[in-house]
Amino acid sequence: MKKELKIFDKPRNVKRFLGGFYVSLVILLITDFFIHKHAEFTWEGIPEFYATYGFVSCVLLIFIAKGLRLFVKRDEDYYD
């Protein structure tokens, strides 16, 4: 049996990973100010539009999905 990978068993590594993730987010936010935008829609020119839209979309997605679960969730043997 080969040796198992265990990198995410150590909380320190998870923290490092998340740290790297947050740093990359900040870099993305900063880069936004230095690029030339050729916006098809006016709002595409707004600073950090995509970041905001992505974040808000996903939060909304989760909350709507949670609401949807109230209506559509059934037991696994519902159709049996």
């Binding site: 198992e4 992505g54 997605l61 999905a65 949807l68 696994e76």
Partner: protein, 589 residues
């Protein structure tokens, strides 16, 4: 044309010999079939070949143009990968069904008339059903029956539409139709069902997770994408498709977030991706059609890759639910890596294939100033990353360690995933060869600074939302449960309608019994016994004389006799009279 056999026939006839070959020769033979098809495709110049005259119609088995060639190439590539993935399966039924299925898809692709198209369309449905049946569980058999019934319905719609269409136009040529008139709507419904356009989509998420490990790989590639091809040929520029496509991209992601079965999550994200293609076909500009076709090309690769990764997990652990899995990166690091490449590709990360194809469709919607559509597509793009890009790898390979200790799948499976993963990355880094085979000339540059940063922001901040919601515990927990979809209408709804109709009929029967068996005979019996007083009492009741008047009446009149005497005698006399009349007329006249 030097070759006498159409590409579809190579696979279909070739499939029939599979059960008679054994061992390594069989593996080599099965891999040779798609390779041979690919060689054939490379030597097929544009034109129409293999035309067979039947009655008044000419069946065209080989219409070759730029649109059909792209789909021909990718169907052949994925057949090779699928066969390689399934090489160790010791079940000839699956091998034969998969090859027939791929042959059907190629047949649809190169069909030049509607009758040939219909022929191969049905072959697709029948062959793929066996890939579900072959799992040989109770659930898969039930799912297979539902699957084939739904597809028979779709096939019949298509057939009816084709018959009307030939009747009206006098031609069976498989070309642009456009949405007008009954025939076109019937054909549209037939194609839409195979493309899983809502509300005709639930067969997909019902059947694919029940298919065999290897069968699902073929299924994820062939049925919906051949429908995309047929739609791109017959209904480009149909406005309805833009809206249906946008709806299709958006609604499955909510289900995908809730779903527990990994392959069902992938099925929902498949519907979502086909939505992008439908949207592109609906927009109908050269850029949009190119986008839809190239997205189908890339999608087939990364979706098959994801289904292969999920299939490998199912194959090695016997488990496929988020609630049962977790921590598998420790023992299946390569599968995990391939899964993440598939996940990055479907999410359209820069340097992964979805990025160079999906963005063409999104850009096309922006060029046409379709504001709402553009917003929905961007929302769906973020949503895809959320469920297919993060959720699938996260709950399978990371998250909480499930304690499962397994190992990598066999070499052939790893190789198949490796080839698909390689192509996903290669297409993204060198998109030119793909762009060169698209139906229209491409002058699209995917890698601009604004596009790369915009897309990265959209995805990474979507990921941030996932991260924060998971850490704070707001993320909906994975549950052992199912979620109702429109298949409820034929799985439960119909039986409830039946129960309702039965209930209604029972009620009517009950009322009838009460009136005609009990109340009416009782009243008639009473009337014949006591005609005068019954009539008098009814009259007094009706005229509202009240209880007192009734009792007065009963006191004043003596009870009617019940004997038959007074009534019977005249009846007896009349009978004698009638019989004598009969005798006189019959015997004496």
């Amino acid at each position: 044309m030097t070759n006498l056999i159409p590409p579809s026939a190579i696979l279909i006839i070739g499939a029939l010999f599979v059960p008679f070959i054994r061992g390594r020769l069989k593996s080599a033979y099965m891999l040779l079939l798609p390779s041979f098809v690919f060689m054939t495709l490379l030597n097929m110049p544009e034109g129409k070949y293999w035309i067979v005259k039947v009655l008044d119609y000419s069946l065209v088995f080989g219409r070759v143009d730029r649109l059909s060639m792209v789909f021909g190439y990718i169907f052949t590539i994925i057949t090779f990968i699928g066969v390689l993935f399934a090489l160790k399966v010791k079940d000839d039924l699956q091998h034969v069904a998969a090859l027939l299925y791929a042959g059907g898809a190629l047949g649809v692709t190169f069909a030049g008339d509607f009758l040939t198209l219909y022929l191969f369309w049905e072959l697709l449905a029948i062959a793929s059903t066996f890939l579900i049946l072959a799992r040989r569980t109770k659930a898969s058999q039930a799912a297979a029956i539902r699957y084939i019934l739904v597809h028979i319905f779709g096939g019949l719609c298509l057939l009816a539409g084709i018959v009307f269409y030939i009747q009206q136009t006098g031609t069976a040529e498989f070309e642009y139709i456009g949405l007008s008139g009954t025939a076109s709507y019937l054909i549209f419904i037939g194609i839409a069902l195979n493309a899983a356009i809502p509300p005709l989509h639930p067969w997909l998420q019902d059947a694919y997770p029940e298919a065999t490990v290897t069968g699902a790989v073929f299924m994820s590639a062939l049925t919906t994408k051949s429908a995309v091809y047929v739609m791109a040929r017959t209904f480009p520029g149909t406005e309805l498709l833009i809206w249906m496509g946008a709806l299709m991209t958006a609604f499955p992601i909510f289900y995908a977030v809730l779903e527990n079965d990994i392959r069902r999550v992938l099925s929902y994200s498949l519907i979502n991706q086909v939505g992008f293609m439908m949207c592109g076909i609906g927009i109908g500009t050269h850029l949009a059609i190119n986008g839809a076709v190239s997205h189908a090309f890339c999608h087939i690769l990364y979706k098959a890759l994801l289904f292969m990764a999920a299939g490998s997990v199912l194959h090695m652990t016997g488990k496929i639910r988020c609630t049962d899995l977790g921590g598998l990166y420790k023992t299946m690091p390569l599968t995990c890596l391939f899964c993440m490449i598939g996940a990055a590709s479907i999410s359209a990360f820069p340097l992964f294939s979805g990025f160079v194809s999906k963005s063409m469709i999104v850009s096309a919607s922006a060029h046409e100033k379709l504001t709402i559509i553009w917003l929905i597509l961007q929302f769906a793009s973020a949503g895809v990353f959320h469920h297919a890009g993060i959720k699938v790898p996260f709950f399978t390979f990371f998250a909480e360690d499930s304690g499962i200790r397994t190992k990598e799948p066999p070499l052939n499976m790893l190789l198949a995933m490796g080839i698909a993963a390689f192509l996903c990355v290669a297409i993204a880094i060198f998109p030119r060869p793909l762009y060169d085979i698209l139906p229209y000339p491409v002058d699209y540059v995917p890698y601009t600074a604004a596009h790369v940063v915009g897309q990265l922001q959209l995805l990474m901040f979507g990921a941030l939302a996932f991260c924060l919601l998971i850490l704070s515990g707001y993320y909906p927990a994975e549950m052992r449960a199912i979620n109702l979809d429109t298949d409820w209408f034929y799985r439960k709804g119909l039986s409830q309608i039946m129960a309702g109709i039965t209930g209604l009929c029972t009620w009517v029967a009950h009322i009838c019994e009460k009136i005609f068996v009990r109340i009416l005979p009782e009243r008639l019996a009473e009337l014949s016994k006591k005609p005068v007083s019954t009539l008098a009492v009814s009259y007094m009741k009706l005229s509202g004389k009240g209880r007192l008047a009734l009792e007065e009446f009963r006191k004043q009149t003596r009870p009617e006799t019940v004997s038959l005497g007074p009534m019977g005698l005249p009846v007896f006399v009349s009978l004698i009279f009638l019989i004598s009349l009969f005798v006189v007329f019959v015997f004496l006249s």
